[in-house]
């Protein structure tokens, strides 16, 4: 949890805490206040961890659409962008698609991952050959602050060194614990070595975008759902987590078609994502 989230949660919790301890002020309503306060806490936590569920539900309930630009609207379900042009409806939807183990080969310490890498191009080509509608696979990468990242890695390495020495000094040191700590330290050391050799540490967002067309909004939405399901099935062969994007992320991913923020703002988005 980052500092900003702690601050937001802290300040929002002050009033709720005050209401909890001031139960005697509410007389017969005391229990009701406690119940509503608990519901408020649950809602705030949902907003923090799973707003992609809450936001579309609220917008759908209120029937509110969001117009992102001329001709581009996000319907109340908040799961697609609809464009009306040339007498046709174009619905664009998004799927998350994290392929870390394929892209960041050097992160993998285990040698058997080579086989996954060898099979990946063939799998990708089979997917492209078998899909007969337009889609886009996007990888957005943003460099991390090297100094901060390195300090963080070195700090963690120091902590593991301390744990190893503490474990070694025990009367009966556990070989398994030592091995596990040593493995973790080797992973960190490998990352530190890569940075020392001039590589940039990166943040990344990966997602799939597809556009469906229809003579009505509903026809386009149905075609889009079908396309997204097919993409989910096809990409599951690459053993990756594929989930349909809904809520405010749809607004952000739509914007990424035309512009990417400068590093500092992008970093904030990555912080929110983590």
């Amino acid at each position: 949890m980052d500092e900003q989230t702690i601050m937001y949660l802290g300040f929002s919790a002050i009033s709720i805490f005050m209401l909890f301890i001031g139960g005697s002020n509410f007389g017969p309503f005391a229990i009701l206040v406690d119940v509503i306060a608990l519901a408020t806490v649950a809602m705030i936590l949902t907003l923090n961890y799973a707003d992609f569920m809450l936001f579309p539900a609220v917008m759908s309930m209120l029937g509110i659409k969001v117009m992102l630009s001329k001709n581009d609207t996000v319907p109340k379900e908040q799961n697609r962008v609809v464009r009306y042009t040339n007498g046709l409806y174009y619905a664009t939807g998004y799927l998350t698609a994290n392929i870390y183990k394929y892209v960041f080969h050097e992160e993998a310490i285990v040698q058997s991952d080579d086989q996954i890498m060898i099979e990946a191009p063939g799998k990708w080509e089979r997917i492209v050959m078998n899909i007969d509608f337009p889609f886009k696979f996007n990888v957005i990468s943003n460099p991390k602050d090297i100094q901060k990242y390195r300090e963080d890695l070195e700090g963690r390495r120091g902590f593991y060194e301390f744990q190893i020495s503490k474990e070694s000094q025990r009367e009966n040191p556990s070989a398994m614990t030592l091995q596990e700590l040593q493995r973790k330290m080797n992973v960190l050391q490998a990352r530190i070595d890569r940075i020392s050799s001039g590589e940039l540490p990166l943040n990344s967002i990966m997602y799939i975008e597809t556009t469906a067309v229809g003579v009505s909004d509903k026809a386009a939405a149905d075609a889009l759902t079908m396309q997204l399901s097919r993409l989910e099935t096809m990409f599951s062969s690459m053993d990756m987590a594929v989930t349909r994007v809904a809520g405010r992320e749809v607004h952000t991913l739509y914007k990424f078609n035309y512009m990417l923020y400068e590093n500092q703002l992008m970093q904030k988005l990555f912080d929110l994502q983590s």
Binding site: S15, M18, K70, L88, G122, T211, Y258
Partner: protein, 275 residues
């Protein structure tokens, strides 16, 4: 700027929430205290939601007919030089340039070692610049709109030609010839539009912030040139900065599904279903 507004809104709303919570201690009426408690919790939720939804609050106040309008203009304009798209945001101007990556190697013709090398090279491509970069592979439907329009024109001409030949004795040969020509164009139209043809293209996108269009475009173009050189060197190909119409293929979703091509497909599908 956006961050400052977000923080300001949060502080104000959280302050109001705490104020209502304090008021519950200062009133003797239980019902009034209960109402203040409800208001306090409502403001606590609204305050927390500013973490993600500040950008929706002001437009939501001006909402009409159940639609929050974030932007009623075109999402972008093409820069006069044709090398970037320009987006006007609240805090300034962003321009994005695109690099076409003409990569035609297939995994089927690579050895296992080459496949591993390719994966490593792709990792290196992502670190080619210190700026935020998007790398995308796009499958799109080939635009046959112009081709279909030309065939339609020829079909119309052949129909007009057939109508111009009167059905009289002595014209049989000419009419048969015109009918044959018309059938040929008709068959060709059905053949061309009966199936979609897909193609794939890869590209990189980089953006730059500026105080005016020219400044942002120039920086974005410079960054795109740097990326094109880097990708060309790493992958051993000739990546280049995309211009004009090519950029629109990357950013406009409707360009990946050409209208005329799709209309023709829908028409044929409807005819097949007997609609």
């Amino acid at each position: 700027m956006a961050l400052k507004i977000q923080m300001f809104l949060f502080v104000v709303l959280a302050g109001v929430s705490i104020m209502f919570a304090v008021l519950t201690y200062n009133v003797t009426n239980n019902l009034l205290a209960f109402l203040f408690a409800i208001l306090s919790m409502l403001f606590a939720i609204i305050a927390f939601s500013t973490k993600y939804y500040t950008y929706l609050y002001m437009p939501a106040l001006k909402m009409r007919k159940g639609t929050i309008v974030l932007n009623s203009a075109e999402p972008f304009i093409l820069s006069p030089s044709g090398t970037s798209v320009v987006v006007r945001e609240e805090d300034g101007i962003y321009a994005s340039s695109f690099v076409t990556i003409p990569l035609y190697r297939s995994g089927t013709e690579m050895s296992d070692a080459e496949k591993l090398d390719m994966a490593k090279l792709f990792s290196r491509v992502l670190t080619v610049t210190k700026n935020t970069v998007k790398i995308a592979s796009q499958v799109y439907i080939v635009n046959k709109d112009d081709y279909i329009a030309r065939i339609r024109q020829k079909l119309d001409e052949s129909e007009a030609k057939l109508r111009s030949i009167p059905a009289e004795p002595g014209n049989e040969k000419a009419r048969t010839r015109a009918e044959g020509e018309m059938t040929m164009w008709h068959n060709l139209l059905n053949n061309v539009s009966s199936s979609k043809s897909e193609a794939m293209v890869s590209y990189a996108m980089v953006s730059a912030f500026g105080t005016n269009d020219e400044e942002a475009s120039a920086i974005a173009y410079q960054r795109a040139e740097e990326i094109a050189s880097g990708i060309s060197a790493i992958l051993g190909i000739s990546a280049y900065v995309a211009h004009g119409d090519e950029i629109l293929d990357f950013v406009q979703p409707d360009r990946s599904v050409p209208a005329e091509t799709v209309n023709e497909l829908i028409r044929q599908k409807s005819m097949q279903e007997g609609l």
